[in-house]
């Protein structure tokens, strides 16, 4: 059984299709990252799974429970950190977390210690008695994700968990997400930050215009781009043109260019298996390798490859 499964899931806002016949699964104890630009349907999917929104048609199940017909039971096993933390202007962070923990059934004996540790870890301890409306953007975001960490649900949903947060804060949030996974939670993260996706994901689902474009591990997604890896070589060879031809014949080579007689740029699939073959070819050609630089495609390139548009461009639309 999948931890999460959707079949033909569709959500419409008037004439706009936010999700279109989406089939999507998450395995138990997996971190699934939804990657896509703004408006791709990420938040809509999260809100449907959290039972906040109702699907227009199709089916969605969380741990075998239908989100439409068993919504209260679904909410008992999940926790969600929304994209924007809002709504409790006149409350203090410690009070918000205490309330959230109590409503979500965190035992009273554990509550205060858990909250204190979290506030300290996420660097909110000094702000614990400030009113919510006086917190900075980064602090409200950290408070929002802290709700999930204090709850420690079986299924955690985080919508852009580290947006507006500085690098140090991001790493702390990511570490907490990994800790949650180690404790057995299944985690769904929506983001349009490539680095966040690469750091967290067991698998990535690329969403575009409400549809799942592709779903796989980061490694597989990158490897699926033909010629996506770029190997820049500096080689001292007595016969560079012959060497160029030989390099072009190695399995996985898509294209070879050279900017000067001893500098080559190879566009290859799966550089990790191409490089050993290249060194072998150079050895046989009596060429001496002076330097190698391998650049693998980013998830932005993956998005571009599968949708024909760059993730950053579409995010700014």
């Amino acid at each position: 059984m999948y931890a999460v499964e959707t079949k033909d899931l569709t959500k419409r806002y008037g004439k706009t299709w936010a999700l279109k016949n989406l089939d999507f699964t998450i395995d138990e104890n997996e971190i699934m990252v939804l990657l896509g630009p703004n408006g791709s349907g990420k938040t809509t999917l999260l809100l449907i799974l959290a039972t906040v929104l109702k699907p227009t048609s199709g089916q969605a199940e969380v741990m075998g429970l239908d989100v439409s017909t068993q919504s209260t039971r679904v909410r008992q096993i999940l926790g969600i950190a929304f994209q924007e933390a809002r709504g409790f202007w006149r409350h203090k962070p410690a009070d918000i977390l205490r309330f959230h923990a109590s409503v979500c059934g965190v035992p009273r004996a554990k509550r205060d210690t858990l909250i204190e540790n979290l506030l300290r870890d996420l660097e909110l301890w000094d702000a614990r008695n400030k009113l919510f409306m006086h917190l900075s953007g980064g602090q409200t975001k950290r408070l929002e994700v802290a709700k999930v960490f204090v709850h420690r649900p079986k299924f955690a949903i985080l919508d852009e968990p580290s947006s507006q947060v500085d690098l140090r804060g991001k790493r702390k949030i990511w570490a907490q997400i990994h800790k949650l996974q180690e404790e057995g939670s299944t985690i769904l993260v929506a983001t349009n930050e490539v680095r966040e996706a690469e750091y967290l994901a067991d698998r990535v689902t690329v969403l575009d215009k409400g549809k799942s474009v592709v779903c796989d591990t980061v490694r597989q997604l990158k490897d699926s781009i033909t010629g996506g890896d770029i190997v820049e070589l500096e080689i001292d060879s007595p016969e560079p043109q012959i060497l160029k031809r030989a390099l072009g014949q190695i399995d996985g080579t898509v294209k070879i260019t050279n900017s000067s007689s001893n500098r080559f740029k190879a566009y290859v699939s799966m550089a990790e298996s191409w490089v050993p073959k290249m060194t072998d070819t150079c050895y046989r050609s009596k060429a001496r390798i002076l330097s190698i630089r391998v650049t693998e495609p980013s998830l932005d390139d993956v998005f571009l490859h599968f949708t024909g548009r760059a993730l950053r461009e579409t995010s700014n639309e």
Binding site: Y13, A18, N38, G39, T43, T44, L47, A50, T51, V52, L53, K54, S71, T72, R75, Q76, L78, I80, F82, Q83, E84, A85, R86, G87, F88, W89, R90, H91, D95, F99, S102, V103, C104, G105
Partner: protein, 253 residues
């Protein structure tokens, strides 16, 4: 039940630290009754003691305002992002609706504590039964108005401007074309026809009946209690239906 109480207390706590808005409401009431009510009662001759009639009218208006406030609050919660959070908590939709209603009831009790006590003191010579019946009728009316506003609040998901316009217009009509400030029998026929459609007409006459006002200037209490109860049950039922079936958090992205 404990989660319902937690939610009510969590929402109310910041409002009570300090309870400025409640004290302001009490102060406005005291000034209205003490100054305006005292003066106008000397000008009005058709009713025995108009300041008593006026004080009850003000209590009804506070009840109506609070009912409207609950509906508006619900919409604000949706737009501020609090509603999606509440909808994601492990509480059933019907309990969430009950929370909203009980919170409104608690706010109403706090808001009316002083105005109602002062009104009862002004009227004097009351029995426990009449006071309890009056309080129950007020809550019934408060729930009815709150239910009506909650049902109307769904307009605000489409357009908050339209909602504000409708509620402002409705408030003006419902209060002015009613027996809140003047008895039904003194209303000109065209106003009386409009007042017959205002729930506040039945609420205010019912409460005045319980508080011992001259029944000859009031509507039939059985008729009034039926209308107020029907209003509360139907609008709360509609509100519950909308929360359970239709409500969705406002998607922010």
């Amino acid at each position: 039940m404990s989660n319902i109480l937690r939610l009510i207390w969590f929402d109310l706590k910041p409002e009570l630290k300090p309870p400025v808005w409640i004290i302001m409401e009490w102060s406005v009431f005291l000034v209205q009754v003490g100054v305006y009510g005292a003066m106008i009662s000397q000008l009005v001759t058709g009713i025995g003691n108009y300041s008593q009639f006026f004080a009850v009218g003000l209590v009804i208006m506070i009840t109506f305002d609070l009912g409207s406030h609950i509906g508006r609050h619900f919409v604000e919660h949706a737009h501020e992002g609090r509603l999606p959070y509440l909808l994601s908590l492990p509480i059933s939709r019907s309990k969430l609706f009950l929370t909203i209603a009980l919170q409104g009831g608690t706010e109403l009790a706090l808001m009316l504590a002083v105005p109602l006590t002062v009104t009862l003191l002004i009227i004097g010579n009351l029995t426990w039964v009449s006071v309890v019946a009056c309080v129950l009728a007020l809550f019934l009316l408060g729930f009815g108005v709150a239910g009506l506003m909650l049902a109307l609040s769904f307009i605000a998901f489409k357009s908050s401007d339209l909602y504000t316009a409708i509620v402002t217009g409705l408030s003006t009509i419902i209060i002015r074309f009613s027996t809140v400030l003047y008895p039904f029998i003194f209303l000109p026929p065209q106003y009386a026809t409009a007042a017959a459609f205002s729930p506040l007409t039945y609420g205010s006459d019912l409460i005045r009946f319980f508080l011992g006002f001259d029944p000859s200037i009031l509507l039939n209490p059985y008729y009034a209690v039926s209308v107020v109860a029907a209003l509360a049950v139907s609008t709360l039922g509609l509100g519950l239906f909308l929360v359970q079936r239709l409500v969705e958090g406002v998607k922010s992205a």
